[in-house]
Symmetry: C2
Subunit: 212 residues, 2 copies
DNA sequence: GCACAATTTAAACGAACGTTTGATTTAATG
DNA sequence: CATTAAATCAAACGTTCGTTTAAATTGTGC
């Protein structure tokens, strides 16, 4: 018999299958089968399949958002004591780095990274809405801080460039989470460090592009 | 009775529903119901649901890729006659602009734009594979041209930056296709022209960022 | 050890899915 | 008009889905 904690085992398997196959394409029978629990366990412990999705996000996103908030606070504090304006690069890094660093916290985390990447892309509206619900007001704060870092950029341009940065980041998360296969296999995947530097550098340069 | 062309009506509806709800979440009954044709019509005319997805991509992507190829050829020719190296901005524009300009070709095209945006994000592996199959060797050509435009950039960096650019572009396509709702609604959607300029400008700046 | 709640189990529910069938209608051809 | 192929149709196929039920099992407090 496996470990006794049925809820955790269900969460682990659901996280992986929701990420790799999508929410709709994953059946409760596939989840409970892989988790070696009874089919009815999901409805007993979580209530429904949708509530299970919510619990998958909740488990990881609560501590992750706490860390993101702390890093954004720290970035603001450092800029204030140094008497300089915020830099777009450090704001983006405070958002992106904790997410990709989840990769180092265990084998199951890469599935969650992939799930976030796919939630960002909004292919499944239910997954995207559940994700955004857990993100709360973080996007508004992000927009505000980037507005301070790029005061010369019109609000409209700022909003869309942030969207593009999120699009690039989501793509990076999907790669890092193993959700996309390398075409031709001619390029080896980078380390987490390198990927963070690349996507932050790319996004920061895009946001700081001269206004056309 | 409606128009006689059953196949076209099925393609139109399938394009819209596959884009808005996803491939797995769209049933043949929903498609045939909205198209006002018999349930068996899909299997009769296309063979299967998967073959229908293939036909949806085929109808738009064949002429679209012809135009993309022509524009990439033109960009190379102009740079050659002017005796200067390629610019990343014009290469990216040759790829992105024809796609987003589909928006002006009719009301149904926005659904296809959304579908491409979601295929790029790879949330449904079957949709992504079908899409990539129709894209053929275009990605390899793109990588080659961008390598000419940015000769100082290591091949690895180039590959990943192109991925980020595709991620940003995919996000723009999903917005333009109406697949994502504006949060808070505080920003009005831009025109197609503006969106093209913004995403091309963002991506080109990201690709040309100094090597860290 | 007994009563009681929490959990797990096997089985079944109705609904929806993609696909197939065979009859029927429509269109085209000589 | 008669014949034949193409297209449409209603109906059913077997499968899988999320959810529910009620009995069986396990764990807990007295």
């Amino acid at each position: 018999m496996s470990q006794p904690d049925t809820k955790e085992r269900i969460l682990d398997v659901a996280e992986e299958l929701f990420a790799r196959q999508g929410f709709h394409a994953t059946s409760l029978r596939a989840i409970t089968g892989a988790a070696e629990v009874n089919l009815a366990a999901v409805n007993y412990h979580f209530g429904s399949k949708e509530a299970l999705l919510d619990a998958v996000f909740e488990r990881r996103l609560t501590p992750l958002n706490r860390e993101r908030q702390a890093r954004l606070d720290a970035v603001q504090a450092v800029a204030a004591t140094e008497g300089r304006p915020l830099r777009a690069e450090e704001v983006l890094r405070a958002l992106i780095e904790p997410t990709l660093r989840l990769y180092e916290s265990g084998p199951g985390a890469s599935s969650f990274i992939l799930l976030v990447g796919r939630a960002l892309s909004g292919s499944d509206e239910l997954v995207r809405q559940t994700f955004l619900q857990h993100m709360g007001a973080l996007f508004a704060l992000l927009l505000d801080l980037l507005g301070q870092a790029l005061p010369q950029l019109p609000r409209n341009q700022l909003f869309w460039r942030l969207q593009f940065a999120l699009g690039a980041t989501g793509h990076a998360l999907r790669w890092a989470g193993g959700g996309l296969e390398l075409p031709g296999g001619f390029t080896q995947p980078p380390s987490v460090e390198e990927l963070i530097d690349m996507v932050v550098g790319f996004s920061a340069a895009g946001m700081e592009a001269p206004c056309p």
